[in-house]
Symmetry: C2
Subunit: 160 residues, 2 copies
DNA sequence: TATTGTTATACTCTATAACTATA
DNA sequence: TATAGTTATAGAGTATAACAATA
């Protein structure tokens, strides 16, 4: 049986891992001039859909441990993209808000993501892109990962 | 334009990164009982196609720095899967050979990879799997990564 | 002088545990 | 007693530099 000797370059799991890493790497490079990393981009997208959330809520939404969120928000605050304000109802928590700079930066970041995707899929025809997207989504659903949650950020146990 | 607000779960680059990470993670878990990691699996596959190579040659083939190869071969030697023998032509180099244990283990590892792929693509029909594989290969070709070379192992500069 | 394999060191990232101030 | 945020610490993984033996 020749399938036994199928090389890595013909295995869908290897290709997914290879391309996944490559995409993450090149996207990070595209985003670098903006002073943010892909995970920061994800956070800004989430915050854009609802400000005032606490670090814990955001951590749950993105699938990271709150301890990691501290450092991520530190990054974004240092870059002037996020503010930690007093939470109106809970004095322990912070209410996270986007800054003006973030509102200005976000469209650029989305643009970069759109163009990056375009280039990645340059070898496919429009109909094929639609097919690919649908198949990837179907696989992602079955994978057990919540939609939009990257397992690379999904570390640490729920809590002790 | 609503495409501006397309969520991560509808972006092909995010899905590729998400699934790529997930695949690598779950494959590593499947391989763990055998005492090897995905990168070890790749090395064994390469060695199976031509023994007696030096660490440098193998490093070039897989896209890693020779300094990293030291540790990887250390792992495999410790697990009794690879032997460092004297190189017949160059006394500086080692000739790498698979052990009996490796020849016994390799088919199992390939089996695990096959089944893992099957499960990943369980939501797709046979015709779709073929399509997906073809598209991923086409994208991979355009990506600049040599076939079968994982960019996650592709670190360090060519040399100083 | 260049190359093969190796080691030492620093740096980043993640993981574990514990602490504070509130609730 | 539990929770939000934080910090300290140790452990992987990778990067940088330099080294001994041989070509």
């Amino acid at each position: 049986m020749s399938s036994t000797h199928r090389p890595l370059s013909e295995r869908a799991n290897f290709l997914l891992s290879q391309l996944g890493f490559h995409v993450a790497q090149t996207f990070a490079a595209r985003l670098a001039p903006l002073g943010i990393a892909p995970n920061h981009f994800g956070l800004l997208m989430h915050l854009d859909r609802g400000e005032g959330r606490t670090q814990q809520q955001l951590a749950d939404a993105v699938g990271v441990h709150r301890k990691v969120m501290v450092g991520l928000i530190d990054d974004l605050e240092r870059r002037g993209l996020v503010e930690r304000r007093r939470h109106p109802a809970d004095r322990r928590a912070h209410a996270l808000h986007l800054t003006e700079a973030a509102r200005e930066l976000l469209p650029h970041a989305r643009d970069i993501a759109d163009r990056h995707e375009d280039e990645m899929l340059a070898g496919l025809e429009p109909a094929e892109r639609t097919q690919l997207l649908a198949m990837l989504q179907r696989i992602a659903e079955r994978s057990g990962n919540p939609p939009g949650v990257h397992p690379g950020l999904r570390h640490a146990t729920p809590d002790t």
